[in-house]
């Protein structure tokens, strides 16, 4: 036994020695390899090091363009030249301050030589060395051709400096559709969303930040537009002369993004709005494509390239008209009478009301001891059926309708189904608005729903608030027979404008007979002498519409927003229109006139927006229309109403605040550089 164990132990000892021999062989192999590269071929490696200093250059991908549905370019790229300093190649022995001195001197020399002002000061150099030394310092940006030529001829005089090109965004249409396109800023390595990758920055000695979308479609389609950066190895010698360059990876240019917008219509809409604060939405009511999504006032997108100046940013933020604010999608307003078709459809679909029964408006209606007036202070002069009430925008009629059936659940549920109270899923930031309910009011104000509240929301006032885009969605649904569509701003590959795949969110269960009544009322509003929307009439196409004049309180002052919705052609609706002008006269005036221009741009072949669009009609018309307001006699005095207006302002702020905060971040970064 002992002998056996002894034998086994000896055998194990031998096996261990065999292993030891194997390891010795491995170590011998390492020595052999080291001999090969450190003694035999050391010259090759040493010269490889001396001769071929490589720069790893990141080749930014060209950002995709943004086109409108007809292929017109709305956002393009142009080259911008800059001079970058490779700090690592300019490293001086000793403390970093020596290197900073050298870089500082070099920038001074270059500034004189190129006759360009310095954009980087000494502190900037220090900051760069601390923060991102591996990346070259961009010392001059946006150089003119002369400076570029001068530098190229004398590049040898400035070792460590090199010229580079980067793309800059240009906007052929100026500020047009700026809220849809959105602006760009400098992206961060590793992307905006993902945590910065520790290794990413080390992968390149030269890294120009790509442009990254900060708002609008530039942001939502950033992935498609951005493409993939490539990389290049450049061999340089001590004086910075490039021996050869090896493309490691070709950059993949970003894809173009096609918008559903038609710049012809968009431009007309913007021209029609002029200097007023307002919004226009044109939506294809069969597909959901948005042909125009205009907000006014606008801002100049080119302010943001190459980077936004702090003072410009402050001016944009401080502007009382708030040009950064995308009114069409993020502006929340009481819709006023343009909400009446929704009430009409809801009441009709739930039955119990004869739309042909005549109603004699006395000019006001009593609700809970309050007197709510009709636009026609002394009545319409003749009894109205439902179509007539829509055409002449009779408040008491709709208040009576709504009181009959009640706000909840029927009308509110239908309004919710039509997209009110929830932000529409569109490719830019959109607000949700307010669709009040008893529960909402209790939470918000601690009191129950009253008859007056129903009366208010029945005519699109009170707590109800919606964005022009939401209004366009329900207008489309009424026009197309009940399909609630997802509004779209981007065409996918292979889609033809006007025939894009419709994304039907839900189908309203409406009877065609009921729809006819509402359509008829809206047709009469534009096409009869007593219709409130008659000012939008154009002979080229049959239009059905509805005006609205919504009152709101602004700092204790009573103001009115003018609305008009429409669809055309009446017989077979293709487009839905929404126009809204803030702080204006009446829906039948300014909003109708804006709508008229937009209609012309769609249906008049050689239409060119005229210089003078507004108030071409004589002053007396104004007097006739000023009575069109959906007046609630004692509403302004109601403390609840004031509270509500504050609330509305708050929700507006929320909407705009979201985008503004983004902007602030982006700009802070830009200013820092």
């Amino acid at each position: 036994m002992s002998n056996l164990a002894e034998k086994a132990a000896a055998a194990a000892g031998w096996r261990l020695l065999w292993l030891g021999l194997l390891m010795a062989l491995g170590m011998g192999y390492l020595v052999f390899v080291l001999y090969g590269i450190q003694i035999r071929d050391t010259r090759t490696y040493a010269s490889a090091q001396e001769m071929h200093t490589f720069r790893r250059v990141r080749l930014p991908a060209t950002r995709g363009r943004i086109l409108d549905c007809r292929g017109r370019v709305v956002a393009d790229n142009r080259p911008s030249f800059c001079i970058s300093l490779y700090i690592e190649e300019m490293r001086e022995p000793g403390p970093w301050s020596n290197t900073v001195n050298r870089v500082d001197g070099m920038i001074d020399k270059l500034s004189q030589f190129l006759d360009s002002p310095r954009i980087v000061d000494r502190d900037g150099i220090w900051a760069h060395i601390y923060r991102r030394r591996a990346i070259p310092l961009v010392a001059f940006d946006g150089l003119c051709d002369r400076a570029v030529a001068r530098f190229s001829e004398n590049a040898g005089k400035f070792p460590g400096a090199d010229i580079s090109v980067r793309a800059e965004r240009v906007y052929p249409y100026g500020d047009s559709a700026c809220h849809v396109i959105g602006y760009v800023g400098k992206g961060q390595p590793g992307g905006e969303t993902g945590e910065p990758d520790g290794e990413e920055e080390e992968d390149f000695d030269f890294l120009l930040p790509d442009l990254a979308g900060r708002s609008g479609v530039e942001k939502s389609c950033d992935k498609e537009l951005a493409g993939m950066c490539g990389g290049e190895l450049i061999q340089i010698n001590v004086v910075g002369y490039k021996h050869k360059s090896v493309i490691g990876q070709e950059p993949v240019p970003g894809k173009d993004v096609r918008l559903t917008l038609d710049m012809r219509i968009q431009n007309a809409a913007e021209a029609a709005l002029g200097n007023e604060r307002g919004a226009v939405v044109v939506m294809n009511c069969r597909t959901g494509e948005l042909l125009a999504l205009a907000s006014a006032p606008r801002y100049d997108l080119s302010l943001f390239t190459p980077s936004l100046h702090a003072s410009d940013w402050k001016a944009l933020l401080d502007n009382p008209n708030r040009p950064l604010y995308s009114r069409a999608a993020a502006g929340v307003y009481p819709p006023g009478s343009v909400f009446k078709p929704v009430v009409a459809m809801s009441v009709l679909s739930h039955g119990g009301v004869d739309p042909h029964q005549l109603y004699d408006c006395t000019g006001f209606v009593m609700v809970g001891g309050r007197r709510i007036r009709c636009a026609h202070r002394h009545g319409h002069g003749h009894p109205l059926d439902m179509a007539g009430a829509l055409a002449e925008s009779c408040n008491p009629y709709f208040i009576e309708l709504a009181r009959g059936i009640g706000w909840e659940p029927y009308i509110r549920a239908d309004a919710e189904a039509l997209g009110l109270g929830a932000a529409p899923e569109v490719e830019i930031f959109a607000a949700a608005g307010v669709l009040p309910s008893e529960e909402w009011k209790r939470r918000r104000f601690g009191e129950g729903w009253r008859g007056g509240d129903t009366a208010n929301v029945a005519i699109g006032q009170g707590f109800l608030a919606a964005t022009p885009l939401q209004v366009a969605v329900f207008t489309s649904a009424i026009a197309n027979g009940g399909n609630v569509l997802r509004p779209r701003l981007v065409l996918h590959d292979g889609e033809t404008p006007g025939a894009a795949a419709a994304n039907v969110i839900r189908h309203m269960n409406w009877k065609s007979g009921d729809l006819k009544i509402v359509h008829k009322g809206m047709f009469d509003a534009v096409n009869t002498a007593s219709g409130t929307g008659r000012r939008a009439y154009i002979p080229e196409v049959s239009v059905a519409g509805k005006t609205g004049t919504a009152e709101y309180m602004d700092g204790g002052e009573k103001k009115k927003n003018a609305w008009m919705i429409a669809f055309a052609p009446y017989e077979d609706p293709e487009y839905a229109f929404v126009t809204m002008v803030e702080d204006s006269d009446a829906g039948g005036m300014s909003a109708a006139l804006v709508l008229k221009e937009v209609l012309k741009s769609v249906y008049v072949p050689d239409y060119a927006p005229g210089p003078e669009l507004k108030h071409t009609d004589a002053e007396e018309d104004f007097a006739a229309f000023s009575g069109d307001a959906d007046v609630m006699e004692d509403a302004p005095e109601s403390p609840r109403f004031d509270a509500y207006v504050e609330n509305m302002d708050a929700s507006e702020e929320e909407g705009a605040g979201g985008t503004d905060a983004d902007v602030a971040d982006a700009v802070e970064g830009d200013v820092g550089e």
């Binding site: 261990l16 292993l19 491995g26 390899v33 080291l34 450190q38 040493a46 090091q49």
Partner: protein, 407 residues
Amino acid sequence: MNRVFPRFRNFERRGQKMPRVNWMIAVCMAGLLTFGVLFIKSATSIRTDSVHYIYLEMMFKWIPLGLAAHIFIAAVDYRKWLRFSLIPYAGGVLLLVLVLLFGTKLMGARRWIFGVQPSEFMKLAVIPAAAFILANFSDVRGSARFAVILGIFGIPALLVAIQPDLGSAMAFVPACAAMLYVSGCSKTLFRTMMTLGIFMVTVFFSAILLPEHLPEGKREAVEEAVDKFIFPHWRKRVEVFVFPDRDPLGAGWNKRQSEIAVGSGGRFGKGYLKGTQNILGFLPRSVSSTDFIFSVIGEETGFVGSCSLILLFCGLLGGIVATGYVCRDPAGRLICTGTAALLFMHIFVNMAMTVGKMPITGIPLPLVSYGGSFTVAIMSLLGLVQSVSIHGSESTPGGGQSLTKGT
């Protein structure tokens, strides 16, 4: 029987004999640690941030800690330790599970928990556990022991592999194979496993490299299928190893630059703190003090310095193998076998990778690379070997002792 398992004999003899410390291991370990501190300082000398001072952290925190562990472990008979060897093993497995669940994610892999990498401690814990089982269950059938040992190594290897840290997981393989080989259990099974292992490695490489030669249409499908089983960064590393021109900017860059660094070192090197590849930042900064420290050593000390380093490693490995040879106790011998195989694997893979003869893996150079948990783990393991040397050689024949002291 007593000669094979001499338990606690040394206890009565402790006063009579000088402890048989293996001075070879001690000297080489000290030399390698010195190398490490010096060149961690060099590799980080151009950093201006806190990384500049990690050599001090090494000097005053991790090495003293490792040394304390080393001495403490060496002072006590390894057979005592072995009786508890399954406790740290189980603890290590638990930590590996915890790290998968709650670990800190760094560069795409969950490896850290409580400021340490449990995978490094696992390497320490698995060898005594395997030695304990192999030696103490000698009456169990060979194939059963074989399976148990595969399990002992397999569980932590698998847990490390899904972190994912395939490189560290691979480090378990040679130690496992060496211990099975030396223990001599079930030769047929061992040969089968080796064949299977070689077969698997062949499949692995061909799965990555062969789809190249397929026609266009089929190629994508095959590559996609392969990517489901292999981490994409591994495919990249193997590809870069075989075709360095494919990705001269990314993974090919590290390989090329570390090769240039070592090669340009020449006979005597550029001098301490004068390695231009490192100073100019051509060596990847994040790894020049860890996985790629040998390229800094190669550049600054040249062939002479590199060979001195290899000599130190040879001395260390030789000392461990000699200790194992003279120790007649299977458990002690297996500890030495496992330790030597583990160290050799790290040294060889790391150096070969630095000079471009192996795909790049995240395997550090033992005792030289910067890394707290790993250094402490390796020093503790060497402490166990030292304990084998001190306490395990009572029963050895005289010839063995001279070998210990002589080489």
